[in-house]
Symmetry: C2
């Protein structure tokens, strides 16, 4: 089973690494970390990940995963990346995104008429790509699965491996990564957060998405 | 504020990248990704991260974070790494670990008499280093904070930034990474998992830790 992760400059590392920790442990997983060019990719917090393959080396995948970034849609300056996404999507069983990775799927023209989610601060922008924004942690429409912001990729990956390898496998993986979340606060979604925090953060994040 | 992440061959990427996503966004964070040698570090799922600095380039840190690995204690073959950990620990405000990273703290002699946690399958092994194993997601004893398996690093990092930058900052960060966990199953801890899954996974994982 070929699993392709798209890497790009400025991506949010956890968007990819959360699901990578889970999907790469699927039996017979063959993982391809792909970027415009193979080599180092600087993420938005300075951590550098290595892309093993350039776009041209990967022309098929069973699962495609697109991580997000505050600057996700700067990828529209790289039409060859969007071309690659469209081309791989034709071959996938599952095309997935985490956070604002859905804006990249949108910019690639793959969300037209589909229900999808994104980081809460970017959700409205899905309409720009004729997608139907859904306030949900994971949205599945046909073979396209989109996850909400950053940490939602972990929930999405567990959901996906349950479909692929069965719920027992997924539960064992959940236990393996001891995913029994106990955040010290319960303010991880707009509906739970204090309005003053929500409004301040939304202003900052929307400004970052302005380039979309 | 200097934050040092120890990277090493075979480490579990998410152990480090979860907290990195949070700690590196602290105001005035200066992040050092450190390994025995600077350069590429292959994690246990094949993803390669770059260590920016060799041990010799970093001699102080306000926060030290040690990620885990199935093979965590192969680090005991590298006494210079354990020496470095001991030396940095003398300078820290907080010394932290995720998953079996606590076994590395233990092997460095830093957990003697302290309460600590680890991945559930490795918890007993803390006794080898004269630590007091605690069945808890996060354990704080003095300036040492240990987290349980893999994903617990995210909860630990949020707890830590609340101490450092206040609860409002931590809540805003939680909202920023949309950390409103909704795992598809509720089997992420030994107490919640089906016994048959737990026993099978424990056998496999304990075998991996045998080299401790």
């Amino acid at each position: 089973m070929k699993i392709a992760f798209l890497f790009y400059e400025g991506m949010t590392a956890l968007d990819a690494v959360g699901p990578h920790e889970i999907l790469s442990r699927l039996p017979e997983a063959e993982v391809f970390r792909v970027a415009k060019d193979a080599g180092p990719v600087r993420t938005d917090c300075g951590l550098i990940l290595i892309a093993d393959h350039p776009l041209s080396a990967v022309n098929q995948a069973d699962i495609l995963l697109i991580p997000g970034a505050g600057s996700a849609t700067t990828l529209r300056d790289f039409p060859e990346v969007l071309d690659w996404i469209r081309s791989i999507h034709k071959t996938t069983t599952w095309t997935t995104s985490v956070c604002t990775g859905s804006l990249i799927l949108g910019a690639s023209g793959l969300l037209k008429g589909l229900r999808a989610t994104s980081h809460w601060a970017a959700l409205d922008r899905l309409k720009l790509w004729n997608a139907v924004p859904m306030e949900a942690r994971i949205v599945e429409d046909g073979k396209v699965i989109t996850a909400a912001g950053v940490s939602a990729g972990i929930d999405m990956a567990l959901t996906l491996i349950a479909k692929i390898a069965g719920p027992q496998f997924a539960k064992s993986m959940q236990l393996g990564i001891e995913y029994d979340p106990q955040p010290p606060f319960d303010e991880g979604s707009p509906r739970k957060a204090e309005p003053v925090l929500y409004n301040a953060l939304k202003s900052r994040m929307v400004a970052a998405f302005e380039k979309v």
